[in-house]
């Protein structure tokens, strides 16, 4: 053993090489490189999800434009009410691109009757997707929704006395967003 070159060590009758630049070193470097690149990619590709804030914002926006001084605006109860123009909503984004959903119902508190028909716009499937979010396994591509319920007054003509009177109503607002954004 003493006569043997310092570069070789005899182990169990086989010659072990001390080579510094070996094939395995490059394999280790590739593994390190993949780990670093993978880690950086995963960290920076994480999406900042603000769909819940957008849904809340849309719901708040609707509350602000449908009500005034504790009352439902009178034009909201008219048949030709256009939620897009009244609430400054972009019809192209909500209806055509289907990235948002909104549903507003108005009910009389005492009778439980609808005081006007539902206001619905956008991607109706979001309601189902958000329902699934609550009950089942969540999929990231499902929309995120917000729901708000407010008690408010509205003016109506009493059919018996034929006079204008204030009645209590409940406005149920359901909104959803699935705007993911990105580089297109």
């Amino acid at each position: 053993m003493a006569k043997m070159s310092s570069r070789f060590i005899k182990i169990s009758g086989k010659r072990a090489d001390e080579k510094i630049l070996s094939f395995y070193m490059f394999i280790v470097w590739i593994i390190i490189a993949l780990a670093i690149v993978g880690g950086v990619y995963i960290f920076y590709s994480a999406r900042l999800d603000i769909r819940n804030i957008q849904s809340e914002s849309l719901a708040n926006n609707l509350i602000g434009c449908l009500t005034e001084d504790g009352f439902i605006k009178t034009k909201v109860l008219e048949e030709n009410f256009d939620v897009f123009s009244e609430c400054n909503l972009n019809k192209n984004i909500i209806e055509d691109k289907r990235e948002f959903f909104l549903k507003v119902s108005f009910k009389d508190v005492d009778s439980g009757q609808e005081i006007r028909e539902l206001i619905i716009a956008g991607e109706k499937d979001f309601e189902i997707q958000c329902g699934l979010r609550e009950n089942a396994e969540v999929r990231d591509e499902y929309a995120v929704c917000a729901s708000k319920e407010i008690y408010i007054l509205y003016k109506t003509i009493n059919p018996q006395s034929n006079k204008l009177e204030n009645k209590k109503a409940i406005i149920d607002i359901f909104t959803g967003s699935n705007v993911l954004g990105g580089v297109f």
């Binding site: 070159s5 570069r7 080579k19 510094i20 630049l21 070193m25 470097w29 390190i32 490189a33 670093i36 690149v37 950086v40 920076y44 999406r47 900042l48 603000i50 804030i53 957008q54 914002s57 849309l58 708040n60 926006n61 602000g64 256009d82 897009f84 123009s85 009244e86 400054n88 909503l89 972009n90 019809k91 192209n92 984004i93 909500i94 055509d96 691109k97 990235e99 948002f100 705007v179 954004g181 990105g182 580089v183 297109f184």
Partner: protein, 139 residues
């Protein structure tokens, strides 16, 4: 005299190669991480979403001010004009911090007329967005 010894010169050559390759490899890794750390893409995403949320929660007549100091280095490095970095069109916020990229696009639901302007206030770069009502429903 060292190189006359064949085994010794082989060993030294191998060690030098090993050190050079190590420096190249770890240098490349460091450069990659440092470049990723500046992350223009992340800033594009953050600013586009922030601006979209601010517009959606604004009321007509408001003026929104946003400090863009974090963008200054990208603007200088990539020689971008202020008009290029932030664009608002058809309900979209487009933020672009690198030359040649399309930028990060994010939609907002409001249908306001948004007028943008830039101001320099005490070394701070400020984006001013004036929110005005426009003809509704025309997208």
């Amino acid at each position: 005299m060292l190189f006359k010894n064949k085994k010794g010169s082989d060993s030294l050559y191998e060690i030098i190669m090993f050190i050079v390759l190590n420096l190249l490899f770890f240098g490349a890794m460091f450069a990659f991480v440092a470049r990723s750390g500046t992350n223009a893409g992340l800033y594009e995403q953050v600013y586009s979403k922030q601006i979209a949320l601010l517009i959606d929660s604004a009321k007509p007549g408001m003026v929104i001010s946003i400090n863009l100091n974090e963008m200054k280095s990208f603007i200088e490095e990539n020689k971008l004009s202020l008009d290029q970095i932030i664009n608002l069109q058809n309900g979209k916020v487009i933020v672009k911090l690198t030359q040649g990229s399309k930028g990060y696009i994010f939609d907002y639901f409001s249908n306001y007329e948004v007028v943008k302007g830039f101001e320099q206030e005490n070394d701070n770069l400020i984006l001013k967005l004036s929110i005005n009502k426009k003809g509704a429903g025309d997208g």
